[in-house]
């Protein structure tokens, strides 16, 4: 059956039941449907996330007591490297764009698919290949990289572990991320439904647009940097190696030119999710639409200018430190604008605390803590004391896990019923939420305290006075993992056996996806919609259609 015939035959059924050219598993792994690719990302992502969490659990277990608890120092180093690499490159960076962006961006802007569907599939393959390579590096002779996810020189050219495998994997993952970004930019420019002007796009689309630009412009820098590490290890050219006259600090510059913007690749899409969820569950229109849209672009811009704040203690020039510290304070402004607008939206709203909303509120709360501690570290003198302590570990977990992680969980609870046409158990979802919330803070808050007291990060051993904090944190990790276990079982159970949802709009959502079938049909819409008003008018499920003569 060729594509046109297939669409004619069953283009009106859910994309899950759609019968195209291929059958069985090939109908998925060869599908170029953005929705199927989004779901394939989802399953890959959850798998890798579970592996990442396992390593996090093992790190914490090792730190339960001073000295050796379960493994040798070398293995501990490999644990935190694997944990960091997996969480960063396989979970938070691709997370929201690859799963929910893929699935919902085209629907939200009224398109049938992304601009380059085959490229989209390719980027999924690159993602999975990169992920598998990281996992395989664990059993390769020499063992997995033990450098930390930052691959700092000179250690990364000296260690005998498999830095090349991990570096190659990260390179492939970067490429995958670039392709997603490129695809989204083109999709947004070219495929918006008729009438959908820029400021009629949902805020989630705006956040993906800003993110996509960072993906396209910043990721190549880490690409070349990783390549250079490989070249350095294989040929010994000496571009970074201090023994050959290279400058290891220049490596750090290049690494962070990407990796700081990368934290915005991680957080901005989550902010987009929150901007969609908050108004729906507060029964209000979003406050300050344009401010939120522009602040995404503002973050993308300023976020590219602050990388030096990761290097305050390495001996940068005073001028450089001053500039980077100043810019770091600036970048807080657009993020704060968002938080203010969300709270203003909540103000006097009639708030319903359904699971998506709970996670969204947790996002605001935890992200704010993460953001404020970020400002503390942005202050030069204070950071000299705090850098490389567990304060930093606390900070980035509040931002990345409390922010992006909660954003992913919020999105899962918000959109999964739409994606699969089945509902999870609400009550269990709420219970899981509270366990996660408590576990999270028990795990990461003590890190602020012990970091402030001087506990270094990435250390295998510690002085007895830190024991109590470490033990609280480890117990927290258990609570958190139990909570996530309940959450994921509930969600997966929901997907497989939950009550069938056929209603188009279960939450009273206002964007276009809530006006499509549940689950959406193969090409999303029977007819390409015509957007006449704001992006937020689809609560009643009425899509206007284009008059015939305009289409052809």
């Amino acid at each position: 059956m060729n594509d046109d015939a297939a669409i004619a035959a069953n283009g009106h059924v859910s994309f899950l039941d759609y019968q195209g050219k291929y059958k069985g598993i090939r109908a998925w792994i060869l599908s170029t449907d953005h929705k199927r690719i989004g779901i394939m990302y989802l399953f890959a992502l959850i798998t890798f996330f579970a592996i990442g969490v396992t390593f996090g659990f093992l790190i914490r277990l090792e730190l339960l007591t001073p000295g050796k608890t379960i493994v040798e120092p070398q293995v501990y180093n490999e644990f935190f490297t694997l944990h960091g690499v997996i969480m960063i490159f396989l979970f938070v960076i691709p997370g929201i764009p690859a799963v929910f962006g893929n699935f919902f961006l085209p629907i939200m802007i009224g398109a049938k698919d992304v601009a380059f569907p085959r490229l989209n599939l390719l980027s999924w393959y690159l993602y999975v290949t990169g992920g598998i390579l990281i996992i395989v590096s664990i059993i390769m002779p020499g063992g997995p990289a033990d450098t930390g996810w930052t691959f700092y020189i000179p250690y990364s050219v000296r260690t005998t572990t498999n830095v090349i495998a991990t570096g190659t994997a990260a390179f492939l993952l970067g490429f995958s991320s670039i392709l997603t970004g490129l695809n989204f930019i083109t999709t947004i420019h070219r495929l918006r439904a008729p009438g959908m002007a820029w400021f009629k796009m949902p805020l989630f689309a705006w956040s993906l647009y800003a993110t996509a630009w960072i993906q396209v412009l910043a990721t190549p820098i880490i690409g070349i940097t990783l390549l250079l590490i490989i070249v350095e290890r294989v040929f010994g050219v000496g571009l970074f190696d201090p023994a050959l006259g290279g400058d290891p600090i220049l490596y750090q510059h290049l690494f962070w030119i990407y990796s700081h913007p990368a934290v915005y690749i991680m957080i901005v899409p989550a902010m987009g999710v929150i901007s969609e969820i908050i108004p729906v569950f507060a029964r209000r229109t979003i406050f300050g639409y344009k401010f939120i849209a522009f602040s995404s672009l503002g973050i993308a811009l300023f976020g590219s200018l602050v990388w030096g704040h990761h290097m305050f203690a390495v001996g940068m020039s005073d001028a450089g430190q001053f500039v980077f510290s100043f810019l770091t304070f600036m970048v807080a402004i657009p993020s704060a604008i968002k938080v203010f607008n969300w709270t203003a939206t909540l103000y006097k709203g009639s708030i319903s605390l359904d699971p998506p909303m709970l996670y969204a509120l947790a996002f605001i709360f935890l992200f704010s803590i993460g953001g404020f501690t970020g400002l503390i570290q942005g202050a030069l003198s204070v950071d000299i004391h705090l850098t490389d302590t567990s304060f930093i570990v606390g900070h980035f977990h509040y931002v990345m896990f409390g922010g992006t992680g909660m954003g992913v969980f919020a999105a899962l609870h918000y959109w999964l019923p739409k994606m699969f046409g089945r509902m999870y158990n609400m009550k269990r979802a709420k219970v899981a939420f509270w366990i996660i919330f408590v576990g999270f803070n028990t795990l990461y808050f003590p890190m602020f305290v012990m970091g402030w007291l001087g506990m270094p990060r990435r250390y295998y051993d510690y002085l007895p006075e830190y024991t109590v904090y470490h033990q609280i944190a480890t117990v927290g990790s258990w609570i958190l993992i139990i909570g996530m276990g309940i959450m994921f079982t509930n969600l997966i159970r929901g997907i497989l056996k939950g009550n069938v949802v056929t209603e188009k709009n279960i939450w009273g959502g206002e964007t276009l996806e809530w006006a499509t079938d549940t689950p959406p049909i193969h090409e999303n819409f029977e007819e390409i919609p015509l957007v006449t008003g704001t992006p937020y008018e689809y609560k009643q499920n009425d899509i206007e259609e284009l008059p015939e003569e305009v289409i052809h």
Binding site: L182, R190, L191, A193, I221, G236, V237, G238, G245, I257
Partner: protein, 206 residues
Amino acid sequence: MISQDNTAVHAHRDDIGSRMGMWLFLFTELLLFGGLFFLYSVYRFLHQADFHVAAKELDIIIGTFNTAILLTSSLTMAMSITAMSRDNKKLSISLQVVTILLGISFLINKYFEWMTHINHGIYPGSNDYLSMDSGRRLFFALYYVMTGLHALHVIVGTVLIGIMTRFTVKNVITHDSYVKLEAAGLYWHLVDIIWIFLFPLFYLIT
């Protein structure tokens, strides 16, 4: 109100979109080299005198000659697209073939250039390499990495154009559908632009 740039929604084919995707891809290539240009500028800044001396070891004549070759290949590439748009398939094919040949001759020159240095014992890991001044070593490290990566792009570019030639022969690329050829052309011109910067930065700082 129906906004202007949305004509693609229902079209089966969107050439502007394809070209937009290609340009975005070119940016990533540009920034890939951008990282290396950052390295170059910092090391040159830190080792100015050494760079000047080391650059004397490169052959300006070959460099200039290679520059001319690449510029000319850009010309033939651009003209092959015009030929295609004017439905002159034969001319387009011959221009593409000329472009490929020019690309290959660039690579051959490059090969001999590298071989001269290597025969002088200048290559990563050699005794000379390990014992020279760091400034000079960094110069050659950058030289090898940057021109090497560039040469890799030339190889990819020629292969790409080769595929396009095949497409043209097989009428996959035709005079009213040649965006693939355009994309290959864009790639080729970017490779040219990078060389436009590499050339003075390595050969002309004596």
